[in-house]
Symmetry: C4
């Protein structure tokens, strides 16, 4: 690997976690993920800030080890606070080394769930 | 925050609001959103122009406060005119300060709704 | 409008039109679209080339008038040849003036249809 | 064609192949694809590296002939090893000539399948 692929600043404008799920299978509960890939040879320290129609929340901190991926569920964030359900939000993801970020939502409010995904927006 | 992330000009080429919905739950009515994130320290004044197979419509104006996100439903636009249903359109989103724009559609014409989403196209 | 937004060369790598549909409502038949937005003041002459596991097909030609959008269904292409169903393909979209391209697929092989969408890849 | 469109390095951060499918129709089995378009006049030699929460796997090698597209199912990879199901992963796709990469997932764990797709992230 010549150099890590990616960017240090990413944004996701459409965040939303439905509060209900037709299934209680953990894999099929309504959830939203920020999938972070670190192809580099050093760990990536990541901070997420959440934006709402009120004051932002965070930073939420985690680390993606060298040459690893973390698929972080926003549902699981709780420090410094949980992510409210049924509430529009957005997120800014900042890392100290280049990473790639993709957002995915699984919405299982109906029996056959729906999916959406997009590579996030980046700008160093 | 060192500087706001984003761009001042965004485009969404595939706009379409189905006129029917299998549910009358407001959260599950067929709709399309432009989710706008303003990470900056000043309000973003936003103008949307809609394109069709006929003359464009707009501008539709709204503001995203500093360090806030607005998930705007195209369904709710009515000034200067409403967005026609079952009609292909596209949109140009222009702001006076950098923002990030993501489009999402919830299509509930069938009982289990479908979702699509993409970060919009930007070019300053 | 100071200048048209977009690029003259776009690519969509995942093309696929399912041959079956659970509905015969034209709006819900399985289809794939290239949505093209021309925000400029001159018409955009567009050429699409299709790629397969065999020789390419095309060019397919159409025009997007100034300040208009065309949501082109690949299903409807027939000159110089139709797009085969159930067959992986990809497309290159070239215009003589900047446009924005977004791909959307509606897959209604099952009773509740699925959607996918992404802004295409561009490079002038 | 003046020059091939695309980039030599691409990344997909959200990889996931569900192990179950409501249908055993090969077209509707849960799967994930990397769709690679080579618009150029020379073959593209492609290498994929997979990232997990453990050591990476690969490289997986294949070729996309000149002016062809390959829609590669991650499900079918088996050399040097298969892709585990129900396991978050990410991928780095490197080619020796410019290509365009788009990811698509068909998730048929429920009777009406869901789709997601995005142009991958690129950086030369």
């Amino acid at each position: 690997m010549t150099h890590a692929i990616g960017s240090r600043r990413w944004a996701i404008a459409d965040g939303y976690i439905p509060s209900s799920s037709a299934s209680d299978d953990p894999a099929l509960v309504s959830h939203e993920s920020a999938c972070v890939l670190n192809t580099g040879d050093t760990p990536a320290k990541v901070e997420i800030t959440l934006f709402f129609s009120r004051e932002p929340a965070g930073p939420f901190r985690f680390t993606v080890a060298a040459r690893r991926t973390v698929h972080l569920r926003f549902n699981d964030l709780d420090d410094p606070e949980p992510v409210p359900r049924d509430t529009p939000y957005a997120s800014l993801i900042e890392a100290d080394t280049p990473v790639v970020v993709q957002q995915t939502r699984l919405d299982s409010r109906q029996p056959s769930h729906a999916l959406l995904s997009t590579i996030a927006y980046c700008q160093d």
